[in-house]
Point group: none
Chain length 411, copies 2
């Protein structure tokens, strides 16, 4: 099965945003073993959308179109596809009801333009969008398929993974199954890990190994192909075990296990609660922890003590120590435990840049205290202010993971 | 003049790298007032490259091809273009000498494959590449033009700016300049805004209007074309003024002015400091504020009082009120002012979901208190937990903007 991808959006043509959707869809197709020969970017113009769709349908077995299905007048993908296929746009009554209900629940009046999202080329299947109001579409035409997903990355990604990819794989009718395993690691750079795993990387094509650095962690993606999922997993497992052996505690989880979900499970297991005291990360550690649904069961709160006097007054930190030091980070962690009444405290202090405050930009110090023990770690992080803060946040959560599971680190 | 862009590279199709070249070229074309309707990504395959070139030449006046002109066997752009135009590949003797000289100077033997870079479709002009070994190409065919530049971003950018753009502008005969203005708004949905501005959207192509929702705000992009930047700006200004008049305080800034930078400027102007007290946003408001370099001049800290007893004990909130209520949000804002010693306090409470805690998921209440006055706002936000939190964060910063600038809101 050959799949072509079309991204719709004048802002893409104008270069106002970089097209990450094409990379996401391209890599999803590649991971599933589906061929893709062309990607097209077209503006919000129904005639040109129709031109792109017609060309893609003539060359490929299936076409994925992303973008241009929102509620506004410049969302014209539905019109373009209808024109390409010579079909009418039909309004779905049940989806109209659905939209009205959503707006009613919000207690707001729905602008009539929203109803455009209930339109689809005749014969299209509407696929509910759990993260937004524009449904995805699946349209069959002369044995070929067109799938339409939103351009908003989170909505597109969810619908690609849950709906479009399984259908494309089924279309391919392939006996080969692809199984992926993502190992999530922290604390070693991509080039360090690449050097440690060089023989596995070069020496094996099934399973294959790839690296992706994102959001302050390094993901290792293992991919195996086999006749069935069980055999594919048996191919994966020896390589996964070998990687875990070599990287040790750097690998903190796999697949959907984020570091904050792992902490949630560890804390729940020990019946412990957690608090943070933050300076340079300015609340990012607390924000990451509270992104987990149900975090109120184990997270009590945080003090962002950005001004030095607050570190002393609220957290009892001894200001005789340098602001960016293990003593201060640990004082903050202990202060958070005491003030907020928790078993575990995380303290983060540092200099995120661009100006050097007390320490060179990129110097971040983490303290973790539990009823059993306490430890600190000093990170020297490259990059700009935002990158330093994101990496320090992941670092703080990772150090807490080690502390809560009793794996003490000696700086 | 209509220009089409083709990016060549199998790694782009596979999503192994994000295609930033298309955004660069697209924005260069837009800045020069040149229209572009399609971008195509194609793999390292001469037949498919020929297909893409043939389609582009048939639709446009000029085509820019980037990538696939290096020395290795999978660099096949030259072959693809020659096939599309029905021309032979001709080796340039003078460029062969050039290449040999370069390698001699490096004191190394040149691999024979390098000579492929001296090949070009018959009649092509070779343009020297100051940053690499593959020359750019300019090819005229039946009054249309094909420009070929490397895929390496620095080489591509230099050759686009110094060689290709001037030639395209000359082809266009008349130099048109494009000026963009982005208005950033909060508080109205994309569809509401689209309805309020429907006549401007439909009634004007120069300036034109487009919408982009991202990160909890709605951006409105105005684009004007004229002979010079001043005239383009004069076209923009009346539409900008009219949009600002209709949307009022919803428009908080333009272009690079983020809501947190605007707050920073307002607070600095009034010599006020700020603190936050957060529940459902879990530190996100503080994290956004401290993303601004130099925020320590006006931001003192935050209390993330996730557990209800901390709201009472640290912030002095009266727990007789519902946890998700204006009274609690305001009590948190006042508590933050008092505890952290600031002029301005922001309080955020709510139910981010997925479970309904005290209020339906998506109900978020913001309180803002200053030495002058205090106010609250209740938001009912759609979407999942993360989206609700991001939108509430922007909402909190926006309400603080109104409060600090003395624009009081009556709920």
């Amino acid at each position: 099965v050959i799949v072509e991808v079309i991204a719709v959006g004048t802002e893409l043509l104008l270069g106002q945003i970089v097209n990450t959707n094409l990379a996401f869809i391209g890599s999803a197709l590649a991971a599933a073993g589906l061929d893709s020969h062309f990607q097209t970017v077209v503006g919000d113009n129904p005639t040109r959308i129709a031109t792109a769709v017609t060309a893609a349908v003539s060359r490929a077995d299936a076409v994925v179109v992303t973008g241009g299905i929102g509620p506004t007048q410049d969302d014209l993908t539905r019109e373009g596809i209808a024109a390409a296929l010579g079909r009418e746009l039909v309004r779905s009554d049940s989806y109209v009801d659905d939209l009205r209900l959503r707006w009613e629940r919000l207690g707001r009046e729905m602008p009539e333009s929203n109803l455009r999202q209930a339109d689809a080329p005749a014969g299209a299947e509407m696929i509910a969008n759990p993260k937004g109001t524009a449904p995805a579409l699946a349209i069959e035409d002369g044995g070929k398929w067109i799938f339409v997903v939103p351009g908003v990355p989170e909505e597109m990604q969810l619908l690609m993974e849950s709906e479009v990819m399984p259908r494309l794989v089924a279309l391919a009718g392939r006996r080969e199954v692809i199984v992926n395993r993502v190992l999530r690691s922290w604390g070693r750079s991509e080039s360090q890990v690449a050097e440690m795993l060089d023989d596995l990387y070069s020496g094996s094509t099934n399973p294959s190994l790839a690296y992706l650095a994102s959001g302050g962690e390094l993901k290792l993606r293992l991919t195996a192909k086999a006749a069935d999922a069980g055999s594919a997993r048996s191919l994966l497992e020896p390589m996964e075990a070998e990687i875990r052996r070599r990287l040790g505690e750097s690998v903190f989880g796999s697949d959907e296990e984020t570091i904050e979900r792992i902490l949630a499970a560890l804390l729940t297991g020990r019946k412990w609660t957690l608090a943070t005291a933050e300076s340079a990360t300015g609340g990012m550690v607390a924000a990451r922890l509270t992104s987990v649904p149900g975090s109120s069961n184990w997270f009590r709160g945080s003090v962002v003590a950005y001004a030095p006097d607050l570190k002393e007054r609220l957290l009892g930190v001894d200001l005789a120590h340098p602001l960016v030091s293990g003593e201060t980070a640990l004082g903050m962690a202990e202060g958070a435990r005491r003030l907020l009444g928790t078993e575990v405290g995380i303290g983060v202090t540092g200099s995120a840049g661009p100006d050097p405050l007390e320490a060179p930009p990129g110097t971040m110090v983490i303290g973790v205290a539990t009823p059993e023990k306490a430890m600190t770690q000093t990170l020297k992080l490259p990059g700009d202010r935002e990158r330093v803060r994101v990496y320090a946040t992941t670092g703080a959560l990772h150090l807490a993971r080690l502390g809560i599971s009793g794996k003490w680190w000696n700086e």
